[in-house]
């Protein structure tokens, strides 16, 4: 029966021009989304590249200045810009901490339009630890980006609904269902085969078109074959989920208008309402802490420190005898006092920052725990993971920048206290930031989560109908 169904289903779909419509619409949607996603990534790369060029330009100026100084030439540069001073380098010539896009970043904008991808942590201030947000067009935020994730999560289910909502009810309305029911076949099995054929066709067309679009607009993605396979599997599972829903509705309702309405209702619930509700619950239970409040508190601590400057410096040198030992004639200036109080600041602000981070983490954990409620959430998480644009990625980037800032200071501050100068050799050995993607792009849990939902839904909702060899459970 399967081969008979297969050949006639393809014939019927071809003659009703469905396959052509599907092919054209997926082609247009995927091509535009891939192109758009790649454009966004390109912009990100360009921004990074501009910053890197600027840094290189700046570095060569510093380099030539250092060469001249080492050659004994006199430079007409004020002390505050003298490149031999560690703090001048630390403050005026910081390194660039760049988060380069991943090979699959084009598939999902994720958080990439919310956060920056480059930071220059200096020895002064802590903006690098606080402010990572980008200026974003609020209208863009409201409607989201037209990327592959948007097409896959929001539009593909609508296409599946249009493709499947009336598979059984159309037979009923056409009048062929009674004739089918009179044949020695179980209608539910026949429908299951018909849906399986449509699933195979839909998935094949979707994935071929997707790979074609990626090949044309972002061929680099194939350099990560495991992630591309992950992408293919998770999309196949997501399409499967929607086909299972359509099968259940076809069997349970069996009226075209009602089927369409029910499926659109489920689409709204799964794709929009549930994710928004879970987000809202996360916000209500663990409200996002105020950044303004935190900055104010940090300022108060700073002010308090300024008043106790002398005590703080003595305490600092007591803790760091290695910085005072060889410099009995050390003149304590602005930078010395600054780093001494910065240490105290760090200690006092640590709980504040930790509280802020913990609250955000709790929010994300809650959303993560509830992700199994909606395959759309699992899908978004998986695509963001593959794209390297998830909240986790940006948090980890922030963490890496923070770690690098410590390395940066630890390299320069001892030089300040030991009154050492920056040389060409030392300048060349300045610590460099290298972003490591430490977040696993493993999407197996999400894949299994979506995939395993399907047999559960089938067995729980349509067990009776699946057992029915007659057509009694369907109103013919």
């Amino acid at each position: 029966m399967f081969l008979n169904n297969l050949s006639y289903e393809i014939k019927l779909l071809k003659r009703s021009h469905w396959l052509l419509i599907l092919l054209i619409s997926t082609l247009v949607l995927f091509a535009f989304a891939t192109f758009n996603g790649e454009k966004n990534v390109e912009k990100r790369r360009n921004d990074i590249s501009i910053m890197q060029n600027e840094l290189h330009k700046n570095d060569s100026i510093v380099h030539s200045a250092l060469t001249k100084i080492e050659n004994g030439e006199q430079l007409d540069i004020p002390y505050s810009q003298l490149p031999t001073e560690p703090m001048v380098i630390g403050y005026r010539h910081p390194r660039l901490a760049v988060m380069q896009p991943e090979a699959l970043s084009f598939i999902s904008t994720g958080q990439s339009d919310m956060y920056t991808h480059f930071k220059s942590p200096t020895v002064y201030g802590n903006n690098f630890a606080l402010d990572y947000s980008e200026m974003v067009n609020p209208v863009q935020l409201l409607f989201g980006n037209f990327d592959l994730a948007f097409v896959i999560i929001y539009i593909l289910p609508l296409m599946i609904i249009a493709f499947t909502f009336n598979v059984l009810s159309k037979e009923k309305e056409l009048g062929t269902l009674r004739l089918l029911g009179a044949q020695p076949i179980a209608i539910t099995r026949w429908l299951l085969q018909k849906m399986a054929i449509r699933y195979i066709l839909f998935t094949l067309i979707t994935l071929i078109v997707l790979l074609l679009a990626i090949g044309i607009f972002s061929a680099k993605a194939f350099s990560e074959p495991i992630n591309v396979i992950g992408l293919i599997l998770i999309i196949a599972a997501y399409i499967f989920f929607w086909f299972v829903l359509a099968f259940v509705i076809n069997i349970k309702i069996n009226n075209s208008a009602k089927n369409a309405l029910a499926l659109i209702g489920l689409w709204l619930l799964i794709v929009l309402v549930l994710p928004a509700t879970i987000n809202q619950i996360g916000n209500s239970i663990y409200p996002t802490p105020s950044r303004l409040k935190m900055i104010n508190e940090i300022r108060l601590i700073k002010k308090e420190n300024e008043e106790k400057q002398n005590e703080i410096m003595s305490e600092y040198l007591r803790i760091h005898p290695e910085l005072a030992q060889e410099n009995d004639d050390l003149k304590l200036g602005f930078w010395h006092n600054y780093f001494a109080s910065e240490k105290v600041m760090e200690e006092k602000t640590k709980p504040l920052l930790a509280e802020y981070d913990q609250q955000l983490q709790k929010q994300q954990d809650l959303i993560s725990r509830f992700k199994f409620v909606s395959p759309a959430i699992m899908m978004q998480q998986a695509l963001n993971k593959l794209a390297g644009t998830s909240e986790q990625h940006y948090n980890d980037y922030k963490k890496q920048v923070f770690e690098f800032s410590t390395t940066w200071r630890n390299y320069l501050v001892p030089m300040l206290f030991k009154n050492e100068k920056i040389t060409k050799a030392k300048f060349n050995k300045l610590p460099k930031f290298e972003y490591q993607n430490r977040i696993s792009s493993d999407v197996w849990i999400n894949f299994l989560g979506i995939f395993l939902m399907c047999p559960i839904i089938l067995l729980v909702v349509t067990r009776k109908q699946l057992k029915d060899k007659s057509a009694q459970t369907l109103s013919l």
Binding site: M1, N4, L174, L179, A182, Q183, P184, S470
Partner: protein
């Protein structure tokens, strides 16, 4: 007479209902209905709308489960063996609908394959010709077919499936006299081949013309069951109108 039992040992009972009752809540659609149809017999069930004719056919197709009683096809309980019993049946509803974008041959091929029978194109065309469908219509899409043409495809399906049982629900309603005559000729041919036929109809005259037995149903009950040869058309008309509570106009 509700419980008439026909017993002819030399013929096999192909269609049997035994005290068939179907209730929808308080409403009884079919009430204690029993009859047998043997190979080569045509039973015409006459009755007004809602008399229970279609419910009887739906029970034989296992589209609905009887509230009580039994229905059998070729000696097999329809409820216990729904798929097996359907291998013997061809069903032609009042308005036989086929896939409009497929040709007559393709439709026939699809439905015969669903019955696990495979034929080549020449054989399929031969079945369509035997069913009276003109050759030039064989490769045309059925969306342009008349009701009569579609019913011929249905008969071709019965021939191809080598069906032992034909269930017809108001097959001639809406057919022009020529098509109706052609259809009756086809039924006679099928009967002569030994097919057991149950036809639900309003058409008294066609029923008299083609059937071997006539049953008149009212309110789900078989009010009259008789051999067609035992009744003249006039008598049949009188009985029918009487049962239906209509005044007989001479």
């Amino acid at each position: 007479m509700a419980n008439t039992k026909l017993k002819k040992q030399n013929y096999k009972h192909m269609i049997t209902t035994k005290n068939l009752t179907k209730k929808y809540g308080d409403f009884t659609a079919v009430n204690n209905l029993s009859f047998n149809i043997q190979s080569g017999e045509i039973l015409c069930l006459l009755g007004a709308n809602g008399a229970g004719k279609s419910t009887t056919i739906n029970s034989l197709l296992n589209f609905i489960e009887p509230t009580s009683g039994k229905v059998e096809i070729n000696g097999l309980d329809v409820v216990k063996y729904p798929l097996k019993t359907k291998t013997f049946i061809t069903y032609i509803p009042e308005n036989l609908m086929l896939y409009p974008t497929l040709t007559a041959v393709e439709n026939l091929d699809y439905f015969t394959k669903l019955s696990r029978k495979t034929f080549n194109k020449t054989e399929l065309k031969a079945f369509l010709t035997e069913a009276g469908l003109q050759e030039e219509a064989h490769d045309k899409r059925v969306k342009a077919f008349s009701k009569g043409m579609r019913q011929k495809v249905g008969i071709a399906l019965a021939i191809a499936k080598d069906s032992k049982v034909l269930l017809l629900d108001e097959p001639t309603s809406g057919l022009d006299p020529k098509s109706s005559n052609e259809f009756m000729e086809l039924l006679t041919k099928m009967k002569n081949k030994g097919v057991a036929i149950l036809m639900a109809t309003h058409d008294l005259f066609r029923a008299k013309e083609v059937s071997t037995h006539i049953g008149i149903m009212r309110s789900g009950m078989l009010q009259k069951y008789s051999k067609t040869t035992d009744l003249s058309l006039k008598e049949l008309e009188t009985i029918y109108l009487d049962i239906m509570n209509f005044k007989h106009v001479n």
